[in-house]
Structure formats: C-alpha cells, structure tokens
C-alpha cells in the first residue's frame, strides 16, 4: 500500500484523500455514526474571529465578544498563546475549522479528532440528542443576529446592550435541567415570536385592564397564596414570562440568550467525555492508518508528539498546573475501558464485572452515549487510572486551620477519590444552587431568590451583588437573595441595597 503523502505540506486533494481514508476506517471498521462533515480551511485571523464568537460562524454583536477578541489577538500577537488547531461546531452538517498553518499531519489529526471524534459524540451522546438540535442551530443563530440588529436599530445600541449584559450575567441560570424541549423549525420559531409579541402587547394594554367586564372570558380567580407555586430554577425563563415591565423585544432577547445557554449546556457537562472521546478516536484512527501502511514514520512521530502534548497532565506542584486536564483524563479513561474489555485482570473483574471482557467497541460507545462527565467518572474511573495519575483528595474545611489529605491512590482511597473527582464535574454542585421562591405579585412586586448552601460554601459577595444588579434591571422591582443553610437564613443580599434593619429594643 502506498503512502497517502510524504512531506509536511498539505493541499486540498490531500485533505480529501486523508478524509476519505479516515472516514472509511471510522464508518466501516469502527462503525461510528456521524453527521456529514463540512471542513473549512481558515486563516489564523479568522480563527481569532471564531474564538471570540464562542466558535459560532454567526453571532449577534456584543462588546464581550470584542473584549475576548482583543484579548486573544493581543496574546497571540505577543506570542503568549498558540491558537487551537481546530474548532468544531455541533451542527448538521458538522462544521470544523482547520487552520491553514497546520502541517498535513496536524490536518489529519484534526480531521480524525473533530470530524469523526467530536462529530460522533455530538450525534450520539444523550445530552446532545435531548437538548440540542444540530440541524437548526445555524438558522437560529442567523435569526438571533438579525433580530438583535433590528432591536438595535429600533431601540438603540445602549438599551439592547444593557439587556444583553443582564441576560449574560444570568446565562448559567437560563437552562432547563429536567424539562425536555421539542425541536421546532425556523419558520415556526419566527411565527411564534410574532405571536408572543402580539400577546404580550395585549397583556400590557391598559384598556384591557380597566374594563375587565368587557372580556367575559377572564374570570376572577382565587389568587394562589404564593407565586410561583414551586421554586423556579430557570431564572431567565421566569423573567421572560413574568417580569412585569419588560418590553416585548426585551423578552425576546432573554429568550435568545436562554436558547444559547441551553445549546451550550451539554458541552459544559461533557468536557471530559467529549475531548476524551475525540482523542480516543484520533489516536485509534491515525494508528489504524499507520497499521495499514498509509502514513510514514515521520508522520507518526509528529502525530505522537502533538498527541502526547495534548494529553499531558502536569502534576499539582508544577508551576503551570491549572487543574485536571480534561483531555488527559478523558482519553486515558476511554483507553482504560478498552483495556478492561480486552485484557482485564482480577482487579478489573472485581470493580467492573459487567464490562470486563466484553466487546470494547460496544462498551466505549455505550459509555459515550449514556453518560455525562460526572456519571462517567463515577462509573468508569478505575483504580488503575487513579494509581496512574496518582490522584489524591484534599479536604479543605474553613473551620479548621489546616487542610487534610482525605484519600490517596490506595485501597481505602479509591472510592473517595472517584466520588470527589466526579463531584468536581457536577455542575449542580460547582454552581451555587439558586432558585426563585417567590414573587410578591400582590404587594411590592419584590422578587425573592433562595440560595441553598451546600457544605457551608458561601456566595461570593461582590459578584453576587453585581449579578443582582442585573437581575434588578430586568425585574425592575426589589430583588432579594437569601442564602439558606439548614433551613435558616445565613445571609441576605438585596438590590437596591436595603438599609440596615432597625432593631427594636
């Protein structure tokens, strides 16, 4: 078999050849299910543009993207950072950007990594299947961009910017964690948007309020004792539907930000798995190419060098240590699952009786499809992995003046390390649990939120006040936040800040 190429330059024919060879392996040998690929070759400037619009090909205009852009540009120009080799978008067809500066080896790596690894993850993982609609995202982005541009024309850049700022501050609290949306088309989306606007306009019309008897359909109902009846975790959704004084266009902007948050939510929950899966496949696919004699030794050396850089995990005491490298744990865990399937030892049989010795391809696919980072680690982090990474767990309790090593890579520590690492990827533990508990619709319209403290972890005062300021901008009446621990309020934040309570003797 002849080599696909020699030398390090690439051209479009070569890209197509490599893509075809990799696609053949991915689909026919390993049975990966992918969206069609749209591979776009771009320059480094364009890559910087892509960086600063969260990788999306179109996006609405906002200063925060500009800030990101000047930051990336500055650091790149000063040589402080390299640009990523690729960016891939969860869309159908799956769009992947390749940088023109890459050598052919890097292009092949990136094609395998993004176009077959990430792509099959986007298509297969249950979170993406449930929460995102790959076929309509680009249309929705175009709609959002145009809608916001139109709002800027009608209401001024500043007004739109303020609304967007506030929405961005609450973006992480704009996702439904349990309810499942049904996908709708762009035509439907536009129609609904118009309907929403009409209805909202009717609701705020003073006439309708003044003569309720003209509308026999409206019956006076017994007001519920509290509103909302149950605590609401999706703050943006609640504001969109219930904030009293917002303009229809502001509600639509909240909705757009909410949709974006929802779209990115699965990615935030599957960093380790997504990258691990993509690394597993670039490693497996390129090695298969090598086994078939299609790439040269030089190609493999360059590939392995890049690969090992990507999956390097610095130890905690290295000067450049910045937490766990998701590529490293992800890749090694998937490789480890393969090992457990193919060459299990006694320990594996004890820890993973149901997968030890099973078909590795089936097992990694099952793992990819049915888990998110937290449950994936909880389920598959093996003692061997813990030993390999020499993981240890630190307990830090602010009531004690020391920190304690809670567990290390030994028989007594495995489960504790695994649990703790899994929790580290649990967004609902990492993000403060804040919900809306009441909106005083009969009185002063004050909105009350509750922060449920876990493990005594307080909110950061400064940022909490800042976010409340944004919340207040959208709600436009008093906003209170209570931080609750064991059923009693530990601290209170209010916007506008309430004067110190007067103690009556």
């Amino acid at each position: 078999m002849a080599y696909l190429s020699e030398g390090s330059d690439w051209n479009f024919e070569l890209l197509a050849d490599y893509d075809a060879a990799i696609a053949d392996l991915a689909h026919n040998k390993f049975g990966l299910d992918t969206y069609p690929n749209q591979i776009e070759v771009i320059s480094s400037e364009q890559m910087m543009d892509a960086y600063s619009s969260v990788g999306m090909p179109v996006g609405y205009n906002h200063w925060s993207f500009g800030k990101q852009f000047v930051e990336v540009e500055g650091r790149y120009r000063r040589g402080q950072m390299g640009l990523a080799y690729e960016i891939v978008i969860n869309s159908d067809p799956c769009i992947a950007y390749l940088m023109e500066e890459n050598s052919i080896t890097m292009q092949a790596l990136v094609i395998a990594h993004a176009c077959y690894g990430h792509n099959s993850f986007f298509k297969g993982n249950y979170l993406f299947q449930t929460w995102t609609d790959a076929s309509s995202i680009i249309d929705y982005l175009v709609f959002a961009r145009n809608y916001i541009a139109e709002c800027e024309q009608r209401h001024g850049v500043t007004a739109v910017e303020e609304t967007l700022d506030s929405c961005h501050a609450l973006m992480n609290y704009g996702v439904d964690r349990y309810k499942r949306p049904s996908p709708i088309s762009i035509v439907e989306e536009r129609k609904r948007q118009r309907e929403r606007e009409d209805i909202l306009q009717k609701q705020v019309s003073e006439l309708w309020r003044t003569f309720p008897e003209l509308q026999p359909a409206i019956k006076t109902r017994e007001a519920p004792s509290t509103f909302p009846a149950e605590p609401q975790e999706n703050l943006l959704y609640f504001l969109e539907k219930n904030a009293p004084l917002l303009q229809p266009w502001q509600r639509e902007i909240i909705r757009i930000v909410r949709k974006m948050a929802q779209y990115f939510y699965p990615q935030r929950q599957t960093k380790v798995m997504n990258e691990g899966w993509a690394c597993l496949w670039h490693y497996t696919l390129i090695n298969s190419l090598y086994d078939e004699g299609k790439v040269t030794d030089g190609f493999m050396l360059e590939f392995l060098q890049s690969h090992s850089q990507v999956i390097y995990q610095p130890p905690f005491d290295a000067s450049f240590y910045s937490g766990m490298n998701p590529y490293a744990i992800g890749f090694n865990m998937f490789q480890d699952i393969r090992r457990i399937c193919e060459n299990p030892d006694d320990e594996d049989r004890e820890w993973f009786p149901e997968i030890a010795g099973s078909d590795w391809l089936e097992t990694v696919k099952f793992a990819m499809q049915s888990f998110k980072d937290e449950s994936f680690i909880q389920q598959f982090l093996s003692p061997k992995m813990i030993r390999q990474f020499k993981l240890f767990q630190i307990s830090d309790d602010d009531r004690k003046d020391y920190v304690e090593v809670g567990a290390i890579h030994n028989e007594q520590g495995y489960r504790r390390v695994r649990e703790s690492l899994a929790e580290q990827y649990n967004l609902s533990i990492q993000e403060p649990n804040i919900q809306i508990v009441s909106a005083n619709i009969h009185g002063d319209r004050a909105l009350t939120l509750r922060h449920q403290r876990s493990d005594g972890r307080p909110l950061d005062d400064h940022s909490t006040n800042e976010v409340l300021r944004h919340l207040h901008r959208l709600w436009q009446f008093d906003v209170h936040l209570e931080s609750v621990e064991n059923g009693s309020v530990v601290s209170r934040y209010s916007m506008p800040p309430s004067p110190e309570p007067i103690t009556v003797m």
Partner: protein, 426 residues
C-alpha cells in the same frame, strides 16, 4: 460524506463591530490611558497606537459563584509523598479553584490588568474626541494644485481618441439628408413621371422622354452618391474640463519666545502644545503648512530644527513676532485661500510698554485674518502685563481668541482640550 471548503479568502474582520463595541464601552478608561500617553511620549512617536490597560475588575462579567469558605474537596494529580490523614497549613491563595468558573488564575501571575493595543487612528480619535476647530468658515477653498476632470459636453474639435462615435454618425446622417434632400426629391418626381409614362401606350415621343428621364435619374443618383458618407466636419468629440478641486488647507503659525528667560523645560512644554495642535489640524485639513517664528527682541522665521533647539538670549519684544506674522500672511497666505491659525507660547515676559502694542496688533491686524489664535503661557508664576492685555482681547473675541497657562507636562492635554472643547454654539 465530507465537503472541504476554502474559507481563507472570506472576510477576516468579523469581529470588528464587536471590537468597536468594546472600545465604546470602555471609552472612559481608554481616554485616561491616552491622556497618560500624551504626557509621557516624546514628540516623535506621538502618532502611534497605544497599549491600553484596564483593571480586570472593571471588565468583569459577573456570574453567581461560590466565595471562599465552607467545606470543599478537591482532587489533584501527581501525589508524591502524601498519605491519607496528612495535615498541613492551608496554602496561600485559598488552595485552588474555588469558583466553578471565572478565571481563577492559578498560574500565580495574576492578571489584574487587561491589556490590549489600539492603533494610530484609534489613538488619535480618542485623543481628539469631542474637540473641534473653531471657525471653520473658510474650510473649503479653491485650491490651485489638485484638479479633477469633469465631462464638459460635446465639441467639434479634438483628438481621435476622444471621438464620440454615436454623435459623429448622427451628425453625418443629418448632413447627408440635408445635402441630398432637393436632389432626392427631384429623383422621386422623375421616377413618378417615368411610372406614369410606362402606363401610357407606346409612342416615339414617349420612348424619347423615357430615355431622357433615365439619363437624368442616373445623373442625379450619381450626385447623391457623391455626397461623402462621413466627413471631417461630422466628427464630434467628447470634451473634458479640468476643474480645480476645493482643498481644505491651513497654515499654522507657531510663535515662540526664545529669550534668555525661556529655559529648555519651558520650550519643551511649548513644543508639545504645538505638536498637539499640529496633529489636530492635520485631522481637519488636507494640507497643512507650518510657519515657525521665534523671537526675542526681534523675530525671525526659522526651520523646525532651529525653532526648537537653538538657543538665544536677550530681551523680549513680543510685537516683533506678531508683526512678522502679519507680514508673512500678507505676503504668502492670502486670507481667501488659507485657513490661518496661530499659536503663541511665551513665559509672559515682555517689555511693559510693548504689551499694549501687541494687543492692538492682534486685535486690529491679526484676528480679522485668523481663524483662531491661542496663547499659552508656560510659566508657573504670576502673570505680567502681556497676560492682562490678552485677557481684554479674550473678553471681546471669545470665539477667535483663547489663552491658558501650563505649568507642567501633565497639564498640556487638559489645557488643549479646554481650548478646543466643542462649544455649544447656537
């Protein structure tokens, strides 16, 4: 199935709008940085971009996150010597990533400043934001150097390259018709007669007449054919007119006192002020000329180099410089063709009996010709007679005359801004 697309030629400035939004939002910070830069920079590199730093906290996009404290559990890789139950002091900095997101900078290098670069154009935009040149009345004047050609209709003389074919052919067609009209009418008449004769019965007279008619028709047709299809007088040419383009141009007079009392430090202050004015004029006019006049007891027009660096001593007679300015204007810069600006820097020293003369010169001879006259006094000292005289001028001509005092480099830019602040005029 994969599609490979080359996007490298697509627009690569997708982020431009976002970048501008960012600059707009942090205008205040950037303005401050520009301010500092003006005072720090040397003259030579005034016209460059600038690195802007903004405190990270002002840029933050807040989100709810956990603060310090509480019980937390963190897993790290690379254990070497720890054993379960080991205890040690809490490391400085709180021990790792507390917040779920937010860039807790673990690198220890701490990014409390957000720095980026603005280019020369942006720098000048911020530098001169909200400033305007007063009295731009003569802004567009007839210039004598730049011309543009304009279509000037159709003419009958010209060079072959400019022949207007359609018009020439139309002309030829008209000429042919006009010249042959009578002949063709005769041909028509003869032909009619011939038709009529042909319908009659044969006769010798008829045959003779027919013969005659045929000859005449042929003769006339030959005459028509002899009219040229295209003649030189048919030719029409496109005409182009050269028109002078109005150019906005200005001349700036820099007047500086170089008497013994002005030290290098003061000159430097003056120089910075002149430079700012120059950059500012440059943004408003296509063409700028600068005239340097320095004076002690007598005034002299000099080169830039000489103006700023050579040193003289002696007394001070300000009116000498003003007179020279007036003469140069009269000689070289006709008021109807030039926007004229003058900036004077001095330590305020003047021979006392000269000051009234200065005021009179400015008010009566210079101000009617100038767009604007600004005076800066580079001296941290009590004002002297000149200042008092000038103050009376300012009171009478607030739109065309301004004055200010500068003590140290840091004041130059604020003073400059104040002098050229956009006025709320009716």
């Amino acid at each position: 199935m994969s599609y490979i697309i080359d996007r490298r030629l697509n627009d690569k400035h997708k982020s431009t709008v976002n970048r501008q939004r960012f600059l707009r939002r942090y205008r205040k910070h950037i303005r401050e940085a520009v301010n500092d830069a003006v005072n720090r920079r040397s003259i030579k590199d005034m016209e460059q971009g600038e690195r802007i730093s903004i405190p990270q906290k002002d840029l933050s996009e807040p989100v709810f996150h956990h603060g310090q404290g509480g019980q937390r559990s963190i897993v790290h890789p690379g254990n070497k010597e720890f054993n379960q139950g080991d205890r040690f002091k809490r490391p400085e900095g709180g021990g790792g990533q507390g917040s779920g997101d937010g860039d807790a900078s673990d690198s220890g290098e701490g990014q409390d400043e957000f720095a980026f670069q603005i280019d020369k154009q942006e720098f000048l935009n911020f530098l001169f934001e909200d400033l305007e040149l007063p009295n731009l009345v003569k802004r567009h004047l007839e210039g004598a150097q730049v011309f543009k050609t304009r279509h000037g209709g159709i003419v009958s003389q010209g060079m072959p390259a400019k022949i207007n074919i359609v018009r020439s052919m139309r002309q030829a067609s008209m000429r042919r018709r006009a010249l042959t009209a009578a002949t063709r009418k005769r041909i028509r008449d003869l032909k009619n007669e011939r038709e009529a004769l042909l319908k009659e019965d044969q006769s010798p007279q008829r045959q003779a007449r027919l013969q005659e008619l045929d000859e005449q028709i042929q003769k006339l047709e030959r005459r028509v054919d002899r009219i040229p299809y295209l003649d030189t007088l048919d030719l029409r040419f496109n005409h182009h007119i050269k028109e002078p383009v109005p150019v906005s141009r200005a001349v700036m007079f820099c007047i500086m006192d170089v008497s013994g009392s002005m030290n290098q430090n003061m000159k430097d202050l003056a120089k910075r002020f002149f430079l700012l004015l120059y950059l500012f004029l440059q943004r408003n006019y296509d063409q700028i000329e600068v005239v340097f006049i320095r004076h002690h007891t007598s005034a002299k027009e000099v080169t830039e180099e000489e103006f700023f660096y050579s040193r003289e001593t002696g007394g001070t007679i300000v009116s000498s410089a003003l007179k020279l300015t007036r003469d140069i204007i009269n000689e070289r810069y006709p008021v109807d063709q030039w926007n004229i600006y003058a900036a004077q820097a001095s330590d305020g020293d003047n021979w006392n009996d000269d000051s009234p003369a200065c005021a009179k010169l400015i008010e009566e001879e210079l101000l009617p010709k100038l767009q604007y006259f600004s005076y800066v006094e580079v001296m941290p000292r009590a004002h002297q007679a000149l200042w008092d005289q000038y103050e009376t001028i300012m009171a009478r001509h607030p739109a065309a005359f301004s004055m200010a005092q500068i003590d140290e480099p840091g004041e130059i830019y604020p003073v400059f801004r104040q002098l050229f602040k956009k006025r709320m005029e009716s």
